[in-house]
């Protein structure tokens, strides 16, 4: 009788120990798996946005036109659409246009030679822990679009 109770206690202890290891492993697997999944989506989104920026007409009649163009590029990264409708969800949970940085590399004459798109301070909430990506992923494309310094954005 005494020995059986002792064996039952052993089983409880073993279960507690192995469950602790198992839960930790599964939590870690989820945490990294989800973070990698989100990062992969970010790489795709930033790549698509940068490719769009590289081919889009650079309309620079005023500073506002440049900013409107940049806004369209940010929307392309976040929603996969330069002019998203209100019901469109971001391609990655919690990603907002203000987290996307668009930087133009200009020649001496003001004509863009390349465009650099990156994500700033985006936090992935992986339940057990959160990871913040700053300046990554970052993609730079050469500018191959039409330079239109006198045109305005519609």
């Amino acid at each position: 009788m005494k020995r059986r109770r002792f064996a039952r206690g052993h089983a409880m202890l073993e279960l507690a120990l192995s469950a602790g290891v198992m839960v930790t492993c599964l939590a870690g697997t989820f945490q990294f798996g989800y973070t990698f999944y989100v990062y992969n989506q970010l790489v795709t989104a930033v790549g698509n946005g940068a490719r769009y920026a590289a081919q889009r007409s650079y309309r620079a009649a005023t500073e506002r036109d440049i900013e409107l163009g940049n806004q369209a590029i940010r929307n392309m990264v976040v929603y996969g659409d330069a002019q998203p409708t209100a019901e469109l969800a971001p391609v990655t949970a919690g990603l907002k246009p203000e987290r996307v940085e668009v930087r133009w590399i200009l020649n001496d004459d003001g004509k863009p030679s390349a465009v650099n798109v990156t994500v700033r301070g985006y936090t992935v909430d992986a339940v057990f822990r959160s990871f913040t990506f700053d300046s990554r992923p970052m993609v730079e494309f050469p500018y191959v679009g039409r330079y239109a310094p006198g045109e305005s954005e519609r």
């Binding site: 198992m22 790549g47 990554r136 970052m138 993609v139 494309f141 679009g145």
Partner: protein, 156 residues
């Protein structure tokens, strides 16, 4: 000498075997999430890089030898990284072609060159968990892209 009956002794060994099986399966599942996740990210990073690099190279081609040299420099200076944005691409090659079939790093007829091809052939990832359960120690994720000098403009 053990005083346990033979059946009880056999039961004691079973826990060890079950534990080994569980750890093997656990490592395989962790490996699928961790190592495969990194492989897919690398594939994506390398493809985005070669897309951008081939466009950068093609944009410099103007039918002169200087244009080809500028194209190679553009590929070299593109600030792209892989392995979660931590490692620069190594062994990147730029090749050129007049017809999209025969590729040459040093083309003879530079005035005929219309296409640039960039390859990132050596993006070797260390496999951490899957290697412990019989998978490979590392995995190479190459990528390549081709761009033309006068691309069709799809965006206004």
């Amino acid at each position: 000498m053990s005083v346990l009956e033979p059946r009880k002794r056999a039961r004691r060994g079973f826990v060890l075997i079950a534990m080994c099986g569980c750890i093997f399966l656990l490592l395989a599942v962790v490996g699928l999430a961790f190592d495969l996740g990194r492989i897919y990210i690398t594939r994506n990073e390398a493809q985005v890089f070669t897309d951008a690099a081939s466009m950068a190279a093609a944009a410099q081609l103007d039918g002169t030898a200087a244009g080809v040299a500028r194209a190679k420099a553009a590929v070299e200076h593109l600030p792209a990284r892989w392995n979660l944005g931590t490692q620069p691409f190594a062994g990147v090659t730029a090749e050129f072609s007049a017809d999209g079939r025969r590729w040459d790093a040093e083309p003879d007829e530079v005035s005929e060159v219309k296409f640039a091809r960039v390859r990132a052939p050596d993006n070797r990832l260390d496999i951490i968990f899957l290697s412990a359960v019989g998978g490979p120690l590392n995995f190479n994720v190459p990528a390549q892209a081709v761009a033309a000098t006068n691309p069709v403009r799809l965006v206004e």
